[in-house]
């Protein structure tokens, strides 16, 4: 099968899901919209990164809540990267990409939460909790 005909992403997106990372098919006159999307993403990412560094160093915030705040900021920034840099959207031409991503997130959650849960339980059952693991 020749692949030369498939040079134009906009043509392919009419029938199939969009390739992950591909831009949404934009009208011809809007060539600058791609730059705008990436620039908005960069702007949001810089704000979120700067906030993370500020939150980690400030004394204004309630100490025990800082870890949770940092986690929320990190998840928000990952969302910004997925939407503005990888162009993963909820659109109908993106279903397969989103489903694969959802499955990946499920496995990541199981691996991280499961490991922490089991290993936390194990260290609670250790006779001498004050001894550091070597």
């Amino acid at each position: 099968m020749s692949e030369v005909q498939y040079g134009d992403p906009a043509q392919m997106n009419a029938l199939h899901d969009r390739a992950p990372g591909d831009q949404p098919a934009a009208p011809e006159e809007e060539k600058s919209s791609g730059v705008l999307i990436f620039t908005i993403g960069l702007f949001l990412a810089v704000i979120l990164t700067a906030t993370s560094f500020w939150v980690a160093n400030t004394t204004l915030l309630w100490g025990p809540g800082i870890a949770l705040g940092l986690a929320v900021l990190a998840i928000a920034q990952m969302g910004v990267h997925l939407v503005f840099f990888l162009h993963i959207t909820t659109g109908p031409d993106n279903t397969n990409n989103v489903l694969a991503l959802a499955f990946g997130i499920l496995i990541v959650f199981l691996v991280v939460a499961g490991s922490l849960w089991i290993m936390g339980d194990l260290s609670n059952m250790m006779p001498s909790m004050s001894m550091p693991v070597r």
């Binding site: 040079g7 831009q23 980690a56 990190a74 990267h81």
Partner: protein
């Protein structure tokens, strides 16, 4: 191929998905690479879980709050974020088939990625010089494995980018080359997403005593 041809003959009739035939190679290959990236992220999840379990197992040695340098981490973060941005601009230049813009964005991406890698190597060398070697505690073993694995990915990405620019110079923007460049962009953006987790959960949470 038939689907496209018949679509051109009868533009008023939209094709059903069942008649559209297999997806173009660009979509199939990129989707496969997307699944690979997700599996790579699952591998990083295992390394993150290992690190989270072992982070307090310092064996009486230095903890993260004594070892991590936030300024260095902030500069590394800026380098990688900007290189992700220039990589996005490179994708736009590739879609528009603009050679000069593609090379310029690729050089910016490469320089920023190399700066990130240089800072990370410097940071590792500094830690090892202070006696915080991977062998000295379970915490440091997990740290060097996790952050080193990300650094290894960045190294592979830099080599890949150089190879792709040679391919653009040799073959121009053929379907195969643009497909590989799209996969590279996915890889590079994914590395930045993993770095978000690294600087948040390893460094920023680690510097707090």
């Amino acid at each position: 191929m038939n689907a496209i041809a018949s679509d051109a003959l009868r533009p008023e009739l939209p094709l059903a998905v069942s008649e559209a035939g297999p997806a173009p190679k660009r979509i199939v290959v990129t989707y496969g690479f997307w699944v690979f990236i997700l599996s790579d992220i699952v591998m990083f999840a295992a390394l993150f879980a290992t690190y989270a379990v072992l982070v307090h197992a310092t064996a009486g040695g230095a903890a993260g709050s004594q070892l991590f340098n936030q300024v260095s981490v902030a500069v590394e973060t800026g380098c990688l974020l900007l290189s992700s941005y220039t990589c996005g601009l490179m994708s736009l230049a590739i879609n528009a088939k603009r050679h000069v813009a593609t090379y310029a964005a690729a050089i910016a991406t490469f320089v920023l990625g190399a700066a990130f890698l240089g800072l990370e190597i410097h940071e590792f060398a500094d830690m090892i010089a202070r006696g915080a070697t991977p062998q000295s505690s379970a915490f440091l073993s997990a740290f060097f494995t996790l952050v080193g694995c990300h650094g290894l990915h960045v190294t592979v990405g830099l080599i890949w980018l150089a190879v792709m620019m040679a391919q653009v110079a040799a073959h121009d923007f053929t379907a195969a080359v643009t497909r590989r460049l799209l996969c590279f962009a996915l890889f590079w953006h994914a590395l930045d997403i993993i770095w978000i987790c690294l600087f948040t959960f390893v460094y920023l949470m680690g510097v707090r005593p």
